[in-house]
Amino acid sequence: MVQKNIEDFINEINGSIGKNKIITDDLILKLYSKEPSGLVGKISAVIFPENKDDISKILSSAYKYEVNIYPQGSSSSLSGNAVPLKDGVIVSFERMNRIKEVNTTDNIAIVEPGIRIDELNLFLEKSNYMFPIDPASQSVATIGGAINNGAGGLKGAKYGTMKDWVNGMEIALPDENGTRLFLGCMTVKCRKGYDLARLIIGSEGTLALVTEAVLRITPIPESIVTSLALFDNLDDLLDSFIEMKTSGIQPYIAEFMDNKTVEIASKGIDINFDANGNMLLLSIDTTKESSERMKKYLENLFKKHNANKIITSLNQQEAEELGLFKIRRNLFAAQVSMGYSLYGNGKKLQVFIEDIVVPPSKIKLAINKVREVSENYGLPVTIGGHIGDGNIHPSVVYDITDENMKNKVVSWYKDVMKIALDLNGSISAEHGIGLLKKDGLIMEMNHYNSLKEINIMKSIKSLFDPKGILNPGKVL
């Protein structure tokens, strides 16, 4: 049964934005109420705005009828960020996926929120530019979703996260008129009072709807040297990484996978080398002239730290030909297939991906600790991550019908977060709080003696969203 207020709301926007932008087909509603986290919700309609005015109209009616709004890009979130909790409607940005302007002199791209990161990069590539935030889910992740999750990616060590690559944005507020504001600036430098644009980044759709974004873009490096090194001993791998960081080299990409993960991920892909041990995948941006020197440096470094295999390419094309990225790209597939080899086909499995971050100097401690804890639980845990910025993703696959295992996983999850906090880290680097990490957030605030932060955040939330209708129940 659809609640009366939602029914009235749908009738009103039917008139104001047009009925071909609203879907109420039962099965489609269920389809949109999911997320890779495995969480499932329930809603009364999915609405597809096609322009900013549509968004303002939707928000204004939602405010009037007090209808919950769940914004969605591609719903590829992993912490329950995009799942509808209580009854309400999903606002999906998939039809707002235009690139409005690209300006290589100003280094900006102005885009609608529904564009996928990969699509944007395909377009920018023509001018030899890129948008450097590349979550492993970049083929699906939308700009609106990445902004609201504060996403990061493989190039995090060099380029940071979304918060570093959005100059400004237009938002629409859940008020009488669906008021639109332009936060931040068109330029990188910007001192417009409090930095509200940064406040929206990572707010997981709980403060406002992003209707347009002014993104920073950057030229694709002239040359990129990539080295894949495999180490029998994890400590050797981590030592080589720390030595490189200490010597002042900032990697373009620094990805890591532990031996068990490498073993699974290298199965079923066509690479013409044996991959045994823990893998470090390092890319460094250089000039054509210096790439040979960098190649030698990396090879020597890894040799010194007892790598059992080192394969290096001088440019991207060679890296592709050698298949250096193949194992990394197969990580998620490996995590999924590991589950089926462990529990057998026909089971309903869940891949649970942790997202802790520690200062890079502590990464060795963190990984060893996580390994220890996981072994104690007897859980099949793979560890990989964006080692360059200290962000690791221990992940576990489990059978969701097995209660005993589920309890273990929940407990493991907490322990892993605790490891991060004990090492001056944080419980979430890029996936966000959503539903699954709300406890973790409190844990972190407590740990840093900073509980009042939660109250401040709650006050901010009510300023933006007085009726509490935007993605209710998330983050706080």
């Binding site: 879907i23 099965l27 890779p36 590829s76 699906v140 597939a333 999924v336 297939s337």
Partner: protein
């Protein structure tokens, strides 16, 4: 030959809802919703097998697929949406023909 619903179900049940497949699907951006892409097709089919219910949009989803299998290549769970959709068309015809009263129409955005 009768389609083996059990193995069909096991296959769609492997979906982790990551959406990687949507990036390569030619039909997703043409239709009005996610049901016009592989993640939608797979999850709608899963729901259909579980609850034995069909809707207009479900039918549009199943009949707007090209069976081109671009999605299979990028799917981490190796789900063969093209072959699955073909089989589901057959199930619909065999078992639900009489319950389809409306036209099946593939809608543009």
């Amino acid at each position: 030959m009768k389609v083996n619903i059990k193995s069909l179900y096991d296959e769609v049940n492997r979906c982790v809802y990551c959406g990687f497949c949507e990036a390569v699907c030619p039909t997703i951006n043409l239709g009005p919703h996610r049901g016009y892409g592989p993640r939608g097709r797979v999850n709608l089919i899963k729901d259909f097998i579980e609850n034995k219910k069909i809707t207009t949009e479900f039918l549009a989803s199943v009949f707007s697929c090209l069976l081109c299998d671009a999605c299979l290549i990028v799917c981490p769970a190796k789900i063969d949406t093209g072959r699955i959709v073909r089989d589901v068309r057959s199930i619909i015809r065999n078992e639900y023909k009489s319950s389809i009263n409306e036209k099946i129409t593939i809608r543009e955005r």
